[in-house]
């Protein structure tokens, strides 16, 4: 009996806009000028807040946070491609997408300054957006479950979830892909491969040639895109969403990008990578090429860029002022949210805590 090949696979890579802003006209998505400008604005807005937060953190005005600079494209493009009824199930490097979906800047600041209130979003925004997920990869399963619920209820909507390259080593990543595939649930899995999990480079994370191909094992259609090319991200995510809406199940998208900053502000990347390595990727970052693309289309120029930056910086200034002017939230609030209804044994501790606080403030 000769040995037979049972299956062969291929993994597609998609780039629409190269690092110099050169466009593949054939692949260009059909987006209105207004949408292109919104997409660019969304990415720049995240960059401005991110860079401001770095300064605030260094000045001790907020706590530790994980910067998103250089990774604006995948989540912002996803937010543009998504409908209001789709669920946005992020990890913690999707600032662009979160802001685009309507998260107020002040929420981000409250969150990173140690207040749960940052997770409490305006109703219409929080309705279908989950809070940041700190334990790596756990949110991937939530998206699969949300996808199941959407399908059961017959909604034409999908769950879009994000994770990093490190998360693809977690069991929850594999279980999430597997459950969603078995259920043919409407889920778009986006792995932002930023090539670093704190100090662990991509090649120590997995021997797989691509992260995209991990979908193949689960029967999940997959594609690798240039994650610094917002157009490629948009095209792949839109296709995946359409597939999900048609009832054809999940998709895995690997968005190859780069973590230009530290893992979090508590991390020092000079310990494990060189500035030269980083410089290579600064040349490929997502904003410059998109700006070139908009300019080539006659939609952008230096004056517009200057005006946009100024406007966004002012917006961030205002948000920081509002954030810092907000009086501290009540310290005992966690007692109100252990359960929907409190229990006598918890209420007893609550009163004890309030009495201790009063005593300490009187002292």
């Amino acid at each position: 009996m000769p040995r037979k090949t049972l299956a062969e696979f291929k993994v597609e890579h998609l780039q629409v806009l190269d690092e110099n802003g050169k466009l593949d006209k054939e692949l260009e998505p059909d987006l209105a000028d207004g949408d292109l400008l919104r997409l660019y604005r969304g990415m720049v807005r995240a960059r401005e807040l991110d860079q401001r937060m770095l300064k605030l953190q260094r000045q001790g005005r907020i706590g530790t946070f994980g910067p998103c600079t250089g990774q604006e494209a995948p989540s912002t493009a996803a937010a543009l491609a998504m409908q209001d009824d789709d669920w946005f199930v992020g990890a913690f490097r999707e600032l662009g997408g979160r802001l685009f979906r309507g998260e107020p800047l002040t929420n981000t600041l409250f969150y990173y300054n140690g207040w749960e209130e940052g997770n409490v979003l305006p109703k219409e925004v929080g309705r279908r957006m989950t809070p940041l997920a700190v334990v790596v990869g756990t949110q991937i399963l939530h998206a699969a479950g949300i996808g199941y619920a959407l399908k059961l209820k017959g909604e034409k909507a999908a769950a879009v979830t994000f994770c990093g390259d490190g998360a693809t080593s977690e069991g929850d990543f594999h279980e999430g892909l597997n459950f969603a595939a078995v259920w043919q649930a409407p889920v778009v899995f986006i792995s932002q491969n930023n090539q670093w999990a704190i100090s662990i480079p991509r090649e120590k994370q997995t021997r797989s040639e691509t992260i995209a191909q991990k979908g193949i094992a689960y029967g999940v259609p997959c594609i690798q895109v240039d994650g610094n090319d917002a157009l490629a991200c948009y095209v792949a995510i839109k296709e995946a969403l359409e597939r999900a809406y048609r009832g054809e199940g999940p998709t895995l998208i690997e968005a190859v990008t780069y973590r230009l900053m530290m893992h979090t502000t508590a991390d020092d990347p000079t310990k494990y990578r060189t500035k030269d390595q980083e410089d290579v990727w600064w040349q490929k970052e997502p904003l410059i090429r998109f700006q070139k693309y908009l300019s080539a289309k006659g939609l952008w120029d230096d004056a517009k860029e200057e005006a946009l930056r100024e406007e966004l910086r002012a917006e961030v200034d205002t948000a920081v002022k509002e954030f810092e002017a907000t009086a501290p939230w009540p310290l005992d609030r966690p007692f109100d949210h252990v359960f929907a209804e409190t229990h006598p044994s918890i209420e007893k501790q609550h009163q004890e805590y309030l009495a201790a606080l009063k005593e300490e403030s009187d002292a």
Binding site: L141, D172, N178, V182, S345
Partner: protein, 325 residues
């Protein structure tokens, strides 16, 4: 009133709640076509279809993680861990998300879900099928831990657990699954979570037990009561949040207390109860509070389980010791 086993009573509760509320579904390994390895979900597949009695892939974190997503998106999943000994693979999702989502978002997102798991020894099972780890789950704020002791309260507590707006670990004493039957009312009966039940009222001694330990404890209590002693027996029903008021009120009256626990002695529910008694009613005590428990050894294989789990005779001796102190 039909006489049901605990398996049948929980099955009844699931059926009632799935019929009443189409957001409710069951999910887990072998819960669908097979009806569950203990038959707790028997017949649900035929009645409610595969989309509401889901045969999932074999992955405990996956089962709870997707149940969390379903709950956040408006469903009321009842997920099964086939045995509590396999449930540790879901603890990351339990601690990291199910129990925290309400507090994390101050109520904007919640996880109304139930995780059912058969627990405990006494059925001559393989390794990892006999532990009693309720203290593990009780240690995570934001989640409730419920343990029925008989068919009737199992049905009433399951209805409450499914309707509860917060995540509940529902631990089913598999030793009691089929070992006795009880009348279960045909009309709906719901017991509130977070409240213990006084099974016998008495003045001389308080005895606290839960789950599978209730049967041997009742036997011991009744034997001692025959000698003219008045014993109050409390069935916890909810482990967390713990109803300390019922316990402390009783100890204030009796001055003596024995706690019977299947789990290893240290860092357990019995220890917590003693701490609460110390906090509230220490000066009413006339004897040290006694713990009758499993031992701090790895749960032995079933060849040794008969003596490892406190038997009625040992409980009876313990009660007498505390009464005679």
């Amino acid at each position: 009133m039909p006489k049901l086993t605990m398996v049948q009573a929980i099955n009844l509760a699931l059926k009632e709640e799935m019929a009443r509320d189409d957001r409710v579904l069951v999910m887990g390994e072998d819960v669908g076509v097979d009806g569950g390895v203990f038959r707790v979900t028997d017949g649900l597949h035929e009645e409610f279809g595969e989309s509401r009695s889901i045969d999932t892939p074999l992955a405990e974190s996956g089962i709870l993680g997707t149940a969390i997503g379903m709950a956040m998106a408006g469903l009321r999943p009842v997920a099964e861990m086939q045995f509590s000994g396999f449930s540790y693979l879901m603890i990351g999702q339990w601690e990291g998300n199910a129990t925290r989502m309400r507090s994390r978002t101050q109520g904007q997102h919640t996880c109304p879900l139930v995780v059912r798991m058969p627990y405990g020894g006494g059925v001559r099972a393989l390794e990892h099928h006999s532990e009693s780890r309720e203290a593990t789950y009780a240690h995570f704020p934001g989640g409730k831990v419920v343990i029925p002791s008989g068919p009737r309260n199992a049905r009433a507590l399951m209805l409450a657990a499914i309707r509860d707006p917060d995540p509940v670990v529902f631990m089913e004493p598999k030793h009691s699954y089929r070992s006795f039957r009880e009348d279960v009312p045909e009309t709906e009966e719901v017991l509130p979570l977070g409240q213990a039940h006084v099974e016998r009222e008495g003045d001389d001694l308080t005895v606290v037990a839960w789950g599978a330990m209730m049967r041997p404890t009742i036997k011991a209590v009744d034997a001692v009561a025959k000698t003219g002693v008045s014993i109050e027996l409390i069935d916890l029903l909810t482990i967390s949040p713990l109803d300390s008021d019922t316990i402390c009120r009783s100890v204030q009256k009796t001055g003596r207390c024995v706690i019977v626990q299947e789990a290893p002695r240290s860092f357990g529910v019995a220890s917590e109860i003693i701490a609460r008694i110390n906090d509230e009613v220490l000066l009413y005590l006339e004897a040290p509070v006694k713990r009758l428990t499993g031992y701090d050894v790895v749960t032995p294989y079933f060849g040794r389980e008969k003596s490892y789990i406190p038997p009625a005779a040992r409980i009876e001796n313990g009660l007498r010791e505390t009464l005679d102190f």
